[in-house]
Structures are given as structure tokens and as C-alpha cells.
Amino acid sequence: MMKKIFALSLVAAAITCGRGLYARVQTPQIQTGTRSGVIGVKIAVPEFQPLGADAKTLQLTELFNKVLWDDLDYSGVVTLVSRSFYPVGKFSGPENIKPDDWTAPAIDAQFIAFGNARLDGGRITVEARLWDLKRPDNREAIGKRYGSTDTEEGARLIAHQFADAIVELIGGGIKGVSLTKLAYISDRSGAKELYVMDYDGSESHALTNERSIVLTPAWSPDGEKIAFTSFKLNQANIEILSRIDRKPYNFDRQGGTTTTPVWSPDGSMIAYATSRDGSDTEIYVADWNGKNPKRLTVSKSVDISPFWNPRTGREIAFVSDRSGTAQIYIMDAEGTNVRRIIMDGGTAVNPAWSPDGQRIAFAWQKSRTSYFDIYVHDLATGRNDQMTQSAGDNERPTWSPDGRHLAFESTRNGSSQIYSMLADGTKVRQLTQSGKNQGPAWSGYLGQ
């Protein structure tokens, strides 16, 4: 009961101050990343203690600790206090925690997450707590036992669950994304195939084995299906697969080059580009099985890469070179009221609408000799914020469902790889290593 009230009060605080509770925390601030502006609530996370000395318990506990740390570190919601400042000791249960040690100036944490892990009967069980160190009257914000199979996957899963609970509590009630996934294209098998991995790059596996070319994955809003471009029939067509059991769903063959599918926010329709009716690609919408196609654009130009406003479903962004170079436009979902949004020249592609409908991330090549960089366009103000700083091409941004993260592909380290970052350009991490990896698509919240 008291926990609930505490959580609700946090949510209320977050709502009243906009982007999250962390914005009004009055403590010495530590900036993270390369840019100013991200100041998280300070949290200490001493290592969870293995209850058992066998190798597997040690190994899975260590993995749990690493995943929990990384989830919180990249969450964009909290600032982790370095372990080098922590008191000496093992912090397995409430009896080991002396709050004053953790609120001393060197650490100055507001929260501490701690607990222990044990293996028994093929299961891993983690006893996890989150304490609010500055609320002596109501310390325990979370106290929960998480269980799973005693595998690496199981240890990752419960670390993600605990991290998401912390992020949701501290981050203004917005769910964390530790349990979301990324679809992407990799040529690591020799052909470009569709893969899915956890949001942190782990647990990657192939969904297709077409041995042809697969491109441009797009998640259904419920996270069950992925639409993508396939050259299996020697021409670009749209295919749909179940993420769960790889069952194929029909999407009627449209003819011509048919590509860049994207789902409507309610999951009932797909917008896409096709040259079925003429000499260049146009934007169409159809039922998600490809029936009842309706043409939205009429332009003697390339029209491609549609993206529905996920908040309203009332508008579609797309790319067109009707002005001579590729630029980003928005139209109403019926094809009317077309207007260009990026006016400053160069080439602007890959529009990706933020979950709240207020921003559009895109890739911008400001001159023919410059690299592509990721920018975020604010629709209300028209401002374009630069998120990456060249060093190779940075393309194809995709938003996490909480709107706090962007994944993208970059050639900054040579071959094309997938990276994620906070939506202000900080906390960049490389998610793929093997082969050439492209076209990330961040899932919505999956139904775990």
C-alpha cells in the first residue's frame, strides 16, 4: 500500500515537471555523455551477491549484475554512482545497508538497488530491492523476487525486468525498454537476412534464410509480426513473418518495385512504396495483407519510405525527390496537404516519427561531399538538433518506444554497424559486430 502511494507520488511529480522526476532533483549534478542536459537521479548499485559458490551461480550472478548495470546506465533516467566510491562490504540484504554510508557526499545517492541471486532446481531466483535512501519513513520502493530458468537468457531476462521496474518508478511512469528488441538486416551469413536481437545487442538470431536480399524491416505495433522487403522472387516485394514462430503471412504481390513497409498505429494497415502503376515509386496504403491498395502520392519522382505518425495515425511522413533532391515531406493520411519539412537543402531521408508524435528523426547529408548525420526535427518549432557528429555516415534512425533512445546504423568504425544512443546524442553504444549490419527497427513494447 505504502509502496503504491510512493510510486504514484513519483508519477505525479514527474507529470507536473514534464520530462521526468530527474529534472528537478536538487543534488550535485553529474553530467553524462558528451553533451550537457542529461542529469539522472543518482543511484548506487552494489553487486548482487551469489548465494552459492558453484561456477554457474557465480557466472549467472555476474551476468545479472552486468546486464542490470548496463540497462540502468543506458536508460537515460538515472546516473549510476561509480562502484569505486562504495563502502567495503557485501550488500546482499537489508541488514547490510547503512543508509548514511550511501548518502555521504562522496556517493550522494538517492537510491540504492541491491540483493542476491541463487540457483535451485533449474531456476535462478533474484531477491531485488530498491531503496529510497532519503525517505527514512518509506524506504523500500521495490522489494521483489524475480525467477527464471537458470540460463544466460534467464539471467538477462530478470535483470531487464528489475531495471525496467526501476526506470518506470524513477522515470516518471514511462516504461523502460530493456525488454524491447531490434529487428535489423545482417549479411553475416553471406546473404542479407532479417535478424532480431535484444535492445542491447544480445540474443541475436536470424528470422529468415532466403539467401537472396532482405531489407527494411518494420514491426507491427503489437510486436508479433515483422514486414520487410524481400527479393526472393527476383523483385522487391513485401513479406510478413511472425516474430514468434516465423510463420509467414500473405501480403499480396503488388508488382513493380514494392518496398519500405510501415504499419499503421492500429496495426490494420501498411503504408509502402511501389512502382506498380508506372515509372516510379509512389506511396500507397493497403490492408496489412496487401489488399485494397490505395495510392496516396501522384508525382513524377521517387516517393518512398513512408512513416505514420504513431501518435495520431492522421499523417504520413515520406521521402520524395520531387524538388530535385531527396527531401522529407508530410501529408495527411489520405494523401492531401503535402508539405516539405526540412528546408535547408542537401538530402534528407529516413524519417522516423517519435512515439509522442512531436519529433521526426532523420538522416541529413547537408552537402554532396559531407557525411549523413542523424538529426531530430521538432515539428512545433521547426528546429533541427544534430545527434551524431559525422565520422562516417550515420543513417536510418529508429525510436525506442519510450522515445528516449534512437538506434541507427553508422560506418564510423569502417563497416556498417548498428548503434544506439539517447535521443540527445549521448550514451552511444555499438550493438552489432559481426558482418555488415543495417536498417535497425526498434520494436514497440512486447507482451511479456
Partner: protein, 256 residues
């Protein structure tokens, strides 16, 4: 002896008398008188015609000149193959085999004909043609296709057929019209610059621009498939303008 002689004189007399009498037994009657001549008009002169063929012997395919001249004729007909003609004239003919021309002149005074023979030498039949070479297998058409049908190159971020590529594309059109049963695919490609999705659209435009050009040149559009690979099927991988140019292309493949 003397007596005998007397007797013989008498016999001679008798023979001679008999002889004489016999010869004068049927005397010839006198001829009837000739009829009196009629005072009728002078009869019309009979027609005449001459027909000559020059030369009288030709090789097949060479011409022959018929020359004719008729007199006293109302109609002149030459057969075969010439028909009614004026009284005099000539006509150049190309008989394909030996033939005898007959000219017939008719008029009040009668009818006259003349003939002219033309011998046509038919050349010996050509030596039997060598057996037709066996129909080249399809793989040879594919090789010809690969040899003769050239990639069309494009400017950066453009899909219009640039002037330097027109003659190449016209030559492609000629080959494709010559092999009118061949169905084929045009693949549109881009260099690696620009967005992958946009490049799919750009490659699609390039393939369709080439198809439209071929259709204007008379190639049946139903024979043509188009496909865009965007930047997915580069011919080379170096980040140089030379390599970029090779990748900004529309290629051709015969359908299997």
C-alpha cells in the same frame, strides 16, 4: 529367087497400109472457145509480216528485243505475252525460258504469220547449299546478348538517359528488336551513396527510363521486366568516382 521378091513387095504394101489405117482411126476434136474475160475490181494485196528477235539467244534474265513490221494488215497480234500491237514496233521482253513468238497479221487481203524463236539459256543450278549449320543453342544467344547489349550509365542521383548513352541504347534496341522472341530484364542500380531506401526508388526509375526508351524505339514492352536492386548489387566496391560510375547503371539480362 526373083519370084520371092515380088511376093514381099505386096506384103510390105499391106503392112504399111494397115499401119496407116490404124493410126488414123480416132481423130482429136477441136477445143471449145475460151470464155470472155470479167471486168472485176483489183483484189486487195495480201498482208505480210516479219518478226525478229534480237538477240536470238540470251542467258536467263537478260532482255530480248522483238521487232516486227507488218504490211497490209489491219491487226497485228504477237503471242505469247505481247498481244495486239501496232503494225510496226519493238518490245523488250524478259523470257524466263525458251519461247517461240508468233506474229500474226490479218487484213482484207488475208493473213500472214511469222515466228521468232528465242533460246533462253538457264544457268546450271547452284551447287547444293551446304547443310544449314545447326541452330545455335540458347547459350550462344546469351553470349551474344552479353557481348552486344551494353550497360547504360547514369549521372549521380539522375535517372534520365544522358546524351552520351543514347547511341549505346539505340544499339541495344536494335539487338533486342532483331531477337524479337527474347524476353529480358532491366536491372536498375545505384552507387552506395545516398540512402538505401531512396536508392531502391532511384534504381527503379533508371530501369523504367531505359524501358521507356526501348519502347519508343519499337521494342515490345511486354518482353521487358524491370527490377531495382538499388545499391545492393554493386559491380565494384571501391569508394572512387570511377567505381561509383560503374555502379550507376542499368543492366540487361535475358530471361531464362
Amino acid at each position: 529367087m526373083t519370084t520371092f521378091r515380088f511376093k514381099n513387095v505386096r506384103l510390105l504394101f499391106l503392112v504399111l497400109s494397115a499401119l496407116f489405117a490404124f493410126s488414123c482411126k480416132h481423130p482429136t476434136p477441136p477445143p471449145p472457145p475460151a470464155p470472155a474475160p470479167i471486168a472485176a475490181p483489183v483484189p486487195p494485196p495480201a498482208p505480210t509480216i516479219t518478226l525478229r528477235a534480237n538477240p536470238a539467244t540470251v542467258e536467263r534474265g537478260q532482255p530480248v528485243t522483238l521487232t516486227w513490221e507488218a504490211r497490209n494488215a489491219a491487226n497485228v497480234q504477237i503471242d505469247p505475252g505481247v498481244g495486239a500491237v501496232m503494225a510496226t514496233g519493238n518490245r523488250m521482253l524478259n523470257p524466263t525460258s525458251s519461247v517461240t513468238y508468233t506474229a500474226k497479221a490479218t487484213g482484207p487481203g488475208g493473213e500472214a504469220t511469222d515466228t521468232a524463236r528465242v533460246t533462253v539459256n538457264i544457268p546450271p543450278p547452284p551447287a547444293p547449299a551446304p547443310p544449314a549449320p545447326p541452330k545455335p543453342p540458347d547459350v550462344n544467344i546469351s553470349e551474344l546478348f552479353r557481348r552486344d547489349v551494353k550497360d547504360i550509365l547514369f549521372d549521380y542521383d539522375k535517372s534520365d538517359i544522358r546524351p552520351s548513352e543514347v547511341s549505346k541504347l539505340q544499339a541495344n534496341a536494335a539487338f533486342l528488336k532483331e531477337h524479337a522472341n527474347l524476353r529480358f530484364t532491366i536491372d536498375g542500380n545505384t552507387d552506395e551513396r545516398g540512402s538505401q531506401e531512396y536508392n531502391l526508388g532511384l534504381g527503379d526509375r533508371r530501369a523504367n527510363a531505359v524501358k521507356e526508351f526501348l519502347v519508343m524505339q519499337g521494342v515490345n514492352g511486354n518482353r521487358v521486366n524491370t527490377v531495382s536492386y538499388g545499391e545492393e548489387r554493386p559491380a565494384c566496391h571501391e569508394p572512387t568516382e570511377d567505381c561509383y560510375q560503374r555502379n550507376r547503371r542499368a543492366g540487361f539480362t535475358p530471361n531464362p
